[in-house]
Symmetry: C2
Subunit: 161 residues, 2 copies
DNA sequence: TTCAAAGTTGGAAACATTATAATCTGTTTT
DNA sequence: AAAACAGATTATAATGTTTCCAACTTTGAA
């Protein structure tokens, strides 16, 4: 979701840190760069694993701290319901849609322009200053719909844990 | 978010279990009832703590199992990015907006009709069968906006972890 | 150069969630 | 009605993520 204008995006994150009066340490810069150069929604652990190749001393705590900082600055989003149970991070804070399959947990991202005016309306009604948005639809992807109807033809429809 | 028509809502969850060929055990029924009778977004632990008063033998595992079952049936939603890092559950799967303050983590729920046609459009484009939706706006609530401008007047703007 | 503040590190601790094995319950089969 | 069986629940152990903490390092200012 995040790799349309990597340089500009990276700048955005870096500027967020600067504006807050925080230091631009190599660790923080590397984390920002990683976030804007991936289309995945990485977890703290993944970021740490990859960046450790360049920064062997990089601590997991630093990764968590930096992500938490970026989230509280509104520069990135924490996405906590991907289906596994880690927190994923998304550097794309423009309005877009996540389609989450309730069965296989796959996620598709869909950019969506129409969200902008909803945003303005919600801001006006609530007095919030809005910094980003995420619309999540839950449902069955085409493949899983097929599997569901298979099951109905046959016997039990159980989905128990 | 969930307490408009508790009886009907409870029926909806129970029917979802039935349709899937699952048993309507007292534990499952109690969990369904709890979910539809609260405006909060409870965690598994909270549900367990409360229901234990009536079902002293109720196991945490059963609560997790039942919630997972309901989620995979599409009857409720798992909300994983409330700011703390537990998974919260929401029995309201109609389109509505969550406004999340990035600073104090408070959440406001706002029903929103305009989401329905976005839903249809997304379904048509992607082939998903959509069962529910959640639009999350991230931003600063009025109180936190005030705090932010205080800080700008004074000295540092730091938000570090 | 010295000092204080900010940042990082590594490891320990906390905690939510999942997996496992045993037990229980209800239903169907004989 | 007894036996067999699948579905559920329970208690507990194991897993793995995230947070916490104290020590150490770096940076910037006096």
């Amino acid at each position: 979701m995040a790799a349309f204008a990597p340089q500009g995006e990276e700048k955005r994150l870096v500027e967020a840190l600067q504006k807050a009066g925080l230091r631009l340490t190599p660790q923080r810069l590397a984390i920002c760069r990683y976030l804007v150069n991936t289309d995945e929604h990485p977890t703290a652990q993944e970021i740490h694993r990859v960046l450790k190749e360049d920064f062997p001393s990089l601590s997991l705590a630093t990764v968590y701290n930096t992500l938490e900082t970026l989230v509280s600055l509104g520069a990135i989003h924490a996405v906590g319901d991907a289906g596994d149970d880690r927190v994923h991070y998304d550097a794309d804070i423009t309005p877009h849609i996540n389609l989450v399959c309730i069965r296989c947990h796959r996620i598709i991202d869909v950019p969506h322009e129409a969200l902008s005016h909803l945003e303005e309306e919600a801001a006006a009604r609530s007095g919030y200053r809005i910094l980003g948005a995420r619309l999540v639809y839950y449902g069955l992807c085409p493949a899983c719909q097929r599997l569901e109807s298979e099951k109905e033809k046959h016997g039990s429809t159980s989905v128990a844990a």
